[in-house]
């Protein structure tokens, strides 16, 4: 009980309260700018806050984390350029709303839903952290592999047009992810013996190119047209709207917490999975998905903010990072003389409750900064395109360079930008490419780990799968979704029959 009182540390100490606020404010803008990432900001803060006490340093980082995960949705809605990977799904229904002049409404829903998701994530962290982390530890390499396959099956719902083009795009993404020195065997893969290819292709460079540069090039077609005036009078969604989507947001938040808590998967995958889930369970959306469906905003935004609380679960209970940001925070705790690990909860339970408290405060600040300052953002979007497009391109270049201080990432980014431009024109979906890149390592590494563990024997592999309830459930889910939910066979059949019909006529 005494330790629980640390929950209120942030609320009672004005300095810490301020730090969380400053962090969240900065985070929203860092998240919104495509070239700046939360990971980058937090790792710089390690040096910056080196001489500080541990509490304000962590308070600032938590603010940036919470704000940053949310901030990615801003540019996704207003510019069709996700500011962070976890906002890719948000652009799909957010931008169509902005085109109708309803950006204010979209931002409002996004903010409230992010707040809701964030809160569920924190709640699970606070009450069930040890339970969830035990569950997360149970995932064996084969389970991660099935999870990756489940993720890849999302291609079905991400490719609205031609499914076959979606499959091509997904496979391309998986191939891009395997370029470079294989981290498990140090074998060069798909490098054509070129030195600059050995370091691989940065996933952020692909994302910035495909979504940022190709969008900017596409908008060049409309450079002379006036910007769309955004109505920003009605921002806060009605209680009815929130209540209507409460059920969905609970489900997608659960997806977010679990995916966030698993080491090696984070908010980006969670958001895409949640979008897919929303598409499956929403039978009659008021507006179709892809044209501004509220459900298409609710799902990814609840999930990615719920994943924040989720990512802290293995970090606080086991000292295992749930994602890239918590990995850096673990380093920060070390530098400040703490030893993150299974003993942290026992030796320093006050730290746990302090972090939970800081997350709650950050979540409220996110709500505050999310619902205010929208005017500034819409002003940026209403800038003439002749200035906005060069600005986006310059940010894309700086941002892709900043990921790994590498000039070759800039070339990749531009290359994929031009390639993505053509893909858009010819009806290839871009989401599956990014999905493929994100999942490539998860699938490839864990497939090899799983099969090596079973001595290269597929028989032994399946015996292993069926002797574990978790693996069996995951495999069943893969088969179920593949056969029934994804309209793969149905589509193929209808395509085949229509091809036949055409050839007959």
């Amino acid at each position: 009980m005494e330790n629980f009182l640390n929950f209120f540390t942030v609320l009672t100490d004005p300095y810490l309260f301020l730090m969380v606020g400053v962090g969240t404010f900065a985070g929203v803008y860092i998240g919104a700018i495509p070239g700046l990432s939360v990971t980058m900001a937090v790792s710089i803060l390690i040096s910056f806050t080196f001489s500080w006490e541990v509490h304000p340093a962590i308070a600032l980082m938590i603010g940036i984390y919470m704000g940053g995960v949310y901030g990615g949705s801003r540019t996704a809605i207003l510019l069709n350029i996700p500011g962070a990977p976890s906002a890719i799904a948000t652009a799909m229904d957010g931008y169509p709303m902005a085109l109708k002049g309803k950006a204010g409404e979209a931002i409002g829903v996004t903010t409230v839903m992010s707040f809701l998701g964030g809160f569920i994530g924190i709640f699970v962290l606070a009450v069930a952290a040890p339970f969830i982390s035990d569950f997360a530890l149970k995932f064996q390499p084969r389970d991660y592999m099935f999870l990756a396959v489940l993720g890849i099956l999302l291609v079905g719902s991400l490719s609205t047009g031609s499914l076959i083009k979606g499959i091509f795009a997904g496979a391309l993404g998986l191939a891009i992810g395997s370029v470079g020195m294989d981290p498990l065997t140090f074998t060069p893969r798909l490098t054509f013996d070129l030195t600059f290819m050995k370091s691989g292709i940065s996933f952020i460079a692909v994302m910035i190119g495909m979504f940022g540069v190709s969008e900017a090039l596409l908008q060049l077609h409309q450079v002379g047209l006036p910007s769309i005036r955004q109505k920003i009078d009605r921002i806060i969604p009605s209680f009815g709207t929130v209540k209507k989507h409460l059920g969905l947001s609970m489900q997608t938040s659960t997806i977010g917490v679990i995916i966030g808590a698993l080491p090696g998967t984070g908010g980006d995958i969670a958001a895409l999975m949640a979008y897919d889930h929303a598409k499956r369970v929403t039978k009659n959306p008021e507006v179709p998905f892809g044209e501004g469906a509220i459900e298409g905003l609710v799902a990814p935004e609840t999930a990615n903010n719920a994943a924040v609380g989720g990512a802290f679960i293995p970090m606080m209970t086991l000292g295992i990072p749930g994602d890239a940001v918590t990995a850096i925070m673990i380093g920060a705790l070390f530098i400040h003389g703490l030893n993150p690990g299974p003993m942290l909860m026992i030796e320093k339970p006050d730290m746990f409750w302090f972090i939970v408290g800081a997350l709650v405060v950050a979540n409220f600040f996110m709500l505050l900064f999310g619902l205010t300052g929208i005017k500034f953002f819409t002003k940026v979007v209403e800038m003439p395109r002749s200035v906005l497009i060069p600005l986006i391109l310059l940010l894309s270049i700086v941002g892709s360079y900043a990921v790994n201080n590498s000039i070759s990432d800039v070339y990749w980014m531009l290359g994929f930008g031009v390639f993505g431009y053509f893909m858009r024109h010819y009806g290839y979906p871009l989401g599956p490419v990014i999905l493929g890149v994100i999942l490539s390592r998860l699938l490839d590494d864990n497939w090899r780990r799983a099969i090596i563990s079973e001595k290269e024997d597929l028989g032994r592999f399946f015996v292993g799968v069926f002797s574990s309830p978790l693996s069996t459930i995951l495999l069943a889910a893969v088969i179920l979704i593949f056969v029934s939910q994804t309209p793969l066979w149905a589509k193929m059949k209808s395509r085949l029959s229509s091809a036949k019909n055409r050839s007959h006529s």
């Binding site: 995932f139 020195m181 890239a324 990995a327 003389g337």
Partner: protein, 333 residues
């Protein structure tokens, strides 16, 4: 004795430190070989602010990952040898040549400071059917090809420890399951995906203390002060004494050809920085052995480390090219 030598070196570097006039006139780039949040990153980000204070300049640290650190190494090697680009790395580059990962290693650099050395430890899943190293060897002999041993790719700490075990005990019939770092491997160990993992002490210590994993043996000549009850590997088999002490290390380097006075300034700065009580406490807490050596002492440490490890891997058949091809002599018996 060692202390006196250290003191003398320190006095010498302190005396010459004042010579580099006007250095630094601009900020220094510190290129960290590994990603944010890793142990190299943590060590460098915690020692550098203390060194900055001595140096009276700013070191801007950047993480540059990829190619097992070779990208960062080549970046610094391609920069001017003016002391404004500093490499912050770990032990891996010493194996690049024999592992076919690159043509350059620390022989193209001057060590500013070898900061600290880690100790390896063998840990097992809590449910493993053995409690110490001898039990593990017995289990492997009774159940050939069943024990899952964690690995992190050729040249990593687990591969070196495994090579040592194969050299001392004869070829062990185990399944080596590869991971992309000891963090993920230790997570998998706790989940039961692997049975045994050779890891650096600092990464495993919290898990051991909490009873989430079982220590089998410390790879050192003497018991570790943080885990005094864990037996040393030499207490099970004397044969390991030839290879120990061995461990990964962290160091700061500048390109060969950097002016002597600049090197001296940096050496003095890092030497004093590494003595700061916060840094000493941090290293101790993570189970690292503080070294803080530079100059000839550091050079001979690097040479010996490279000879021992490269030939160990060569004899275990894990190298791409013989150490001989690069003029790495077999260590004197």
């Amino acid at each position: 004795m060692k202390r006196i030598v250290l003191g003398a070196v320190a006095a010498l570097t302190m005396a010459t430190g004042a010579m580099a006039e006007g250095y630094p006139t601009k900020e220094i780039q510190g290129i960290i070989q590994w990603g944010a949040g890793g142990s190299t990153d943590t060590v460098m980000r915690s020692v550098t602010p203390h060194a900055e204070a001595v140096l009276g300049g700013t070191v801007v640290m950047q993480n540059m990952t990829g190619g097992v650190g070779a990208i960062a190494l080549n970046y610094v090697a391609d920069a001017e040898a003016d002391g404004y680009t500093v490499l912050m790395g770990a032990e891996n580059p010493l194996l690049y040549k024999v592992m076919g990962l690159g043509e350059k290693d620390y022989s193209d650099f001057i060590p500013v400071s070898i900061l600290a050395r880690g100790t390896a430890i063998l840990v097992a899943n809590v449910d493993a059917p053995f409690d110490d190293y001898a039990g593990m060897i017995a289990y492997i002999n009774e159940n050939p090809g069943e024990l899952k041993l964690g690995a992190t790719g050729p040249g990593g700490l687990p591969s070196v420890i495994t090579a040592m075990m194969n050299t001392v005990e004869g070829e062990l019939d185990v399944i080596a399951v590869p991971f992309d770092g000891d963090g993920p491997a230790l997570t998998a160990l706790q989940g039961g995906a692997i049975d045994v993992m050779p890891a650096v002490l600092g990464a495993a210590i919290e898990g051991i203390k909490a009873g989430n994993m079982k220590p089998l043996a410390v790879f050192d000549l003497e018991a570790n002060q943080h885990l005094p009850e864990v037996p040393t590997i030499v207490s099970f088999n004397e044969g390991y004494a030839d290879f120990l002490p061995w461990g990964p290390f962290f160091g700061v380097f500048v390109k060969q050809g950097t002016p002597d006075d600049v090197v001296a300034s940096l050496q003095a700065a890092y030497h004093e920085g590494a003595q700061h009580e916060d840094f000493v406490a941090l290293m101790d807490g993570r189970g690292f052995t503080l070294m803080n050596i530079s100059g000839d002492e550091a050079q001979s440490f690097l040479t010996a480390w490279q000879q021992n490890t490269a030939w160990l891997l060569q004899d275990a058949g894990l190298t791409q090219a013989s150490p001989e091809d690069f003029g790495i002599a077999r260590p004197a018996e």
